[in-house]
Amino acid sequence: MVFEFMSRILGRKNRPGSKDLAKERLKLVLAQDRVDISPQMFERLRRDLATACAKYVEIDAANMDVRFDSGDRTLALVASVPVIGTKRDSYNSRRRGNMG
């Protein structure tokens, strides 16, 4: 029991205050609230974005991260799209494949 008590105190000390989490969560949810875009529309935006990117580079669409970010009552669309390879790579590898 003493151990439990001690570890609870220590654990508490190491745990960051809950307010940082509160702020982080609020920022994300407010960005979504402020755009007021339906999940369906958002999914379409995501897909179109992936299609557009895929025209120029090879991307990992499953792992792309698209979200709205909001500060000072302005909005930004932030996207992180993992690039697996350039078109040149894929073009070359395909050519090589064809020759083999």
Partner: protein, 265 residues
């Protein structure tokens, strides 16, 4: 006279709108301004009991709107602060008993006679909210430092903007310095950062709000209440004075002694 019509709103319920209206209104009246407080929370009348005026109601806002009495007759004058008046809500009707247009007329009629017309808005964003903001020229948004209240406040900012009420001012209520200190409550900067509107005051979580409400005497009339002092400063800022923000440090031992002796403010 061409008074200021100001709505006090929050989205979320129970964050301190009625408390703020009673205290800020009372503080403005103590400063010599002629103030009319309008309880726009039809069906859930509260401002009367918070102000200790519940036994003096004869007519209410609906009577005045329907022409069953003159507006003047429905206004209750506060006995402690002679320039403070209350227009009580109707208790038996519901929010649909009023139309935004009627509210506009009523508040502009009041603004002819008063320096400040302050509306206590119901929680929510439906009809009652639309009525309360209809005649307002400015807005005070009340929030507590909690995720749900801040989220709702953000929604209100957007709705007010859409209605042409620009630049609402923010009041953060029920701040707990001890929790802020250990990183377990959003602090003042966090809330301003998230909502991105101007701050007009911070009110600590304070037992004297409850005890003064029990007595029907706004905390601003109590010289040693911390919350009362915070509300007095908000009134001063509304009047355009540049007053420093109340220190939100948890009171020190000596601070407590001084307050106990009635010397500290």
């Amino acid at each position: 006279m061409n008074g200021k019509v100001m709505v006090v709103t929050s989205g979320k319920g129970g964050v301190g709108k009625t408390t703020a209206v009673a205290n800020i209104g009372c503080a403005l009246a103590v400063r010599g301004k002629k103030v009319a407080l309008v309880d726009a929370d039809i069906g859930l009348r509260n401002l009367d009991i918070v102000l200790g005026l519940e036994n003096r109601i004869v007519f209410d806002i609906i009577h005045a709107m329907e022409g069953r009495c003159r507006l003047r007759q429905a206004l209750i004058r506060d006995k402690r602060v002679q320039t403070l008046f209350l227009l009580p809500a109707a208790q038996s009707k519901d929010k649909d008993a009023i139309m935004p247009e009627q509210m506009k007329e009523l508040t502009s009629e009041l603004a002819d006679e008063f320096d400040y017309v302050i509306l206590d808005c119901p929680a929510g964003i439906e009809r009652g909210f639309k009525n309360a903001i209809a005649g307002a020229g400015s807005a005070l948004i009340i929030t507590t430092p909690e995720v749900s209240a801040v989220r709702d406040a953000d929604r209100i900012v957007g709705l007010l903007e859409a209605e042409g009420i620009e630049e609402p001012k923010l009041v953060i209520n029920r701040l707990r310095p001890d929790m802020v200190k250990r990183g377990d409550m959003l602090d003042i900067e966090d809330v301003i950062d998230i909502l991105a509107i101007d701050l007009v005051g911070v009110v600590p979580d304070d037992e004297t709000v409850i005890t003064s409400t029990n007595r029907g005497e706004p905390a601003v009339l109590d010289g040693v209440s911390r919350a009362g002092e915070a509300f007095r400063r908000i009134a001063a800022r509304i009047e355009g004075e540049d007053v420093p923000f109340l220190s939100m440090e948890a009171p020190s031992f000596w601070g407590k002694i001084k307050r106990f002796l009635g010397a500290g403010r």
